[in-house]
Subunit: 329 residues, 2 copies
C-alpha cells in the first residue's frame, strides 16, 4: 500500500509499505480521509519521544471496513484504545489509563496510509452519504468536546450563564467554540492572532472571533479553553479568568511559564489539563456530526495523501487559512 | 486598650491604643484568644502590600461580646466579611467577592488587642465552657475545611476510596489532615520536613506523618493539599498526583516555579487555588469544634499577647514545635 512515512525529523516520504494485518479483535479499514493534527506536526518536528521514526503518523481517520463484523460499513475510527478492565475505567475515565494506546504511537501504526488496522470496538458506523472528511473531524471535535465538558463540570454552573473564552483558532480551538455553542454557552469568544483564521471562525458562526488585543476584560471569563498552551496564552488565561473560573489547558508546547499562581490561589481559579476523550464522548460526537450540529464544517481543506509533505510545509509556513487539512489516500 | 502594633517591617510594639467603637451592625468583642497565622507572619516580614503599617494584625479570634444582640455571649469571630448582595454570593461563593473584607486588613483593625469590632453576623456563639484557644482555631480550620471540600468536589469521587496527601505540617496542613479524617478520607499522608512537627501530627492522630523522602509513590495521590506553596511542593504535587487527580494550592509564597504543565495536561491533573471559606463553612467548623470532631487540639501553645514579638521571633527561628501559637490578651 501507499503510505506517508516519517523517516527522520522534518522528513516525510510517500512510498510503498507492507499492508497491515488485522489482529484478534481488529478490522482493516480502507482509509478515505485522515486529518493532520497539531500532535502530528509536533512529532514531525522531532519533538515527541513517544513516536520514534520510521513511523506512519495520522490518527484522525474515517473509511470503509474490509473485514470482521462491520465489513462493508463506513466508519469513523476512534484512534484511542482504552482497557475497560482498568481502575480508571471503573472510575469513568478510561482515557487516563497508563495502558491507553493510540493509533500512530507504537505498537499501533497510524492512518497516513491506504489501510489501517483498528479494534472493532473503536469503529463508529456513519451513513453512506456522509463525507469522509467530515467523519475524520470526529477525533479533533471529540478532543474539544471532552475539554469543554470537563471544564464545565469543574466550573459547576450552567453554561448558558457563563462567559466562555477560547484561545487559539486552530482545529481544536474552533471545534471547542462550536462545541460550546452546541452546549448552549451564553457568550463565546475566540481569540486568534491570524486574521485569516478569525475570518474562518466568523464564517463558522463564532461572532466574537477577535484579535488578542480585543479580548474580553480582565477577570471576566468563567470558562477558558487554552488550545495553544504557550506562556502568552497561560498568562492571558490567568489574567482574564473570573474569580472562581476554570482554565482548561489543552496544549503540549514545551515550557511551563506564564501561570500566575498567586492570582490562581487568591481568586480560587482552577486550571485543569485535558487529553483525549472517553469512548462514549467519541460516539456522542459522531452522532452529533451525523445530525449536523456543528455547522457547515467548511473550515477544512482536502489534499491528496501523496502531497502530505507539502501540506505540512504549508502549515509550518503559516500559509493555511483552513483550521484543518485532511489528506485523501 | 493594650494592643500589639506592627509599626514597621519586623517591628511589633505592645502599647496602648484607642479602643475601637462598634459601627452600624457591629459589636465589640473582648478578645480572649487570637492565633498567629502564616499570613500575619508574611505581613510582619513586610511582604503584604494589602496591610500597610502601622497596623493591628490578627484575625483568628474568640472572646465575649460586649454589646448588641449577642451581648454577654462568648463567640468565635469569623473575620471575613462578605457582601451577600453580590453576584458571587448568588453563585454560592461569597468569599470570592471583590468587596470581601477581613479583620486585620484596612478598613478593619485586627484582633492582636484587648478589643476588636466585628459585624454581628460574623459572630458564632460558643458554649461557656469551651476554651477560647479552641474557638480561635475555627478560622484556620475553616480555611482547611474549605480547601479540602473544594478539592473533593473537583475530584468528583468519594473520599473514603481516595488517597489524600497534605504537604506541610503547620496549622493549615495539620488542620487539613484532621478535616480529611473527619470527612472519612481513606488514606491520609502528611509530609513535613521538621521532625518535631511530624511528632505533633502523629500525636494528633495522623499516622502517616512522614518526611519528604518517605512520601507515597509517584502518580498515586488522588487529592493533594499543598499547604506550603513553594516551588518544591508544587513539583512534588505534580509528580505524586495520580492521573485525574486534584491539587489544592493554598500557599501565598512568592514565585510560580515547580508546576509540570505537560504532566498536568497529559494526565488531566487539576490544580485549584483556595482562599478562605464561606460563612456556612465557618459556622459548620465551629459546630464540629464544639462537638470535639477534630480531636484533642493539643497542637497549640498559648502565650500572653504582651509577649507576641517574642512568639513571632521564635516562629521565625524554627523554635516552635506546636503547629499554632495563640496569644492571650
Amino acid at each position: 500500500m501507499k503510505a506517508l512515512v516519517q523517516t527522520a525529523p522534518n522528513t516525510l516520504v510517500y512510498r510503498d509499505e507492507p499492508e497491515p494485518a488485522a489482529m484478534e479483535g481488529e478490522a482493516l479499514v480502507r482509509v478515505e480521509a485522515v486529518g493532520i493534527c497539531g500532535s502530528d506536526m509536533h512529532a514531525i518536528h522531532g519533538h515527541d519521544s513517544r513516536r520514534p521514526t520510521p513511523i506512519i503518523l495520522g490518527h484522525e481517520a474515517a473509511g470503509r471496513v474490509l473485514d470482521g463484523p462491520l465489513a462493508g460499513q463506513r466508519v469513523a475510527v476512534n484512534p484511542l484504545w482504552v482497557p475497560m478492565d482498568c481502575p480508571f475505567a471503573r472510575e469513568g475515565r478510561p482515557h487516563l489509563s497508563p495502558r491507553r494506546e493510540i493509533l500512530s504511537m507504537p505498537p499501533r501504526p497510524g492512518a497516513f496510509a491506504e489501510w489501517v488496522r483498528a479494534p472493532v470496538e473503536n469503529l463508529c458506523v456513519i451513513p453512506e452519504d456522509m463525507p469522509a472528511q467530515h467523519a475524520a473531524l470526529a477525533e479533533p471535535i471529540a478532543v474539544a468536546y471532552h475539554a469543554a465538558h470537563h471544564g464545565a463540570r469543574l466550573l459547576g454552573r450552567p453554561l448558558p450563564g457563563a462567559r466562555c473564552l477560547v484561545l487559539g483558532g486552530g482545529a481544536i480551538g474552533l471545534a471547542a467554540a462550536l462545541v460550546l455553542r452546541q452546549a448552549g454557552a451564553g457568550e463565546i469568544w475566540l481569540i486568534e492572532p491570524n486574521p485569516a483564521r478569525r475570518e474562518t471562525a466568523l464564517r463558522a458562526g463564532i461572532a466574537l472571533a477577535r484579535a488578542p488585543e480585543d479580548g474580553p476584560p480582565d477577570g471576566s471569563a468563567d470558562l477558558i479553553l487554552d488550545a495553544v498552551g504557550s506562556a502568552a496564552t497561560r498568562a492571558a488565561s490567568c489574567r482574564i479568568a473570573r474569580p472562581g473560573g476554570v482554565i482548561v489547558h489543552a496544549g503540549l508546547l514545551p515550557g511551563a511559564d506564564g501561570l500566575d499562581v498567586r492570582r490562581i490561589t487568591l481568586q480560587e481559579i482552577t486550571l485543569t489539563g485535558t487529553y483525549c476523550y472517553t469512548p462514549a464522548e467519541f460516539r456522542t460526537v459522531v452522532a452529533l456530526l451525523v445530525e449536523g450540529r456543528f455547522g457547515a464544517l467548511d473550515w477544512l481543506e482536502t489534499r491528496p495523501l501523496s502531497e502530505g509533505a507539502q501540506a505540512v510545509a504549508d502549515i509550518d509556513g503559516g500559509r493555511v487559512a483552513a483550521a484543518k487539512i485532511i489528506l485523501i489516500p
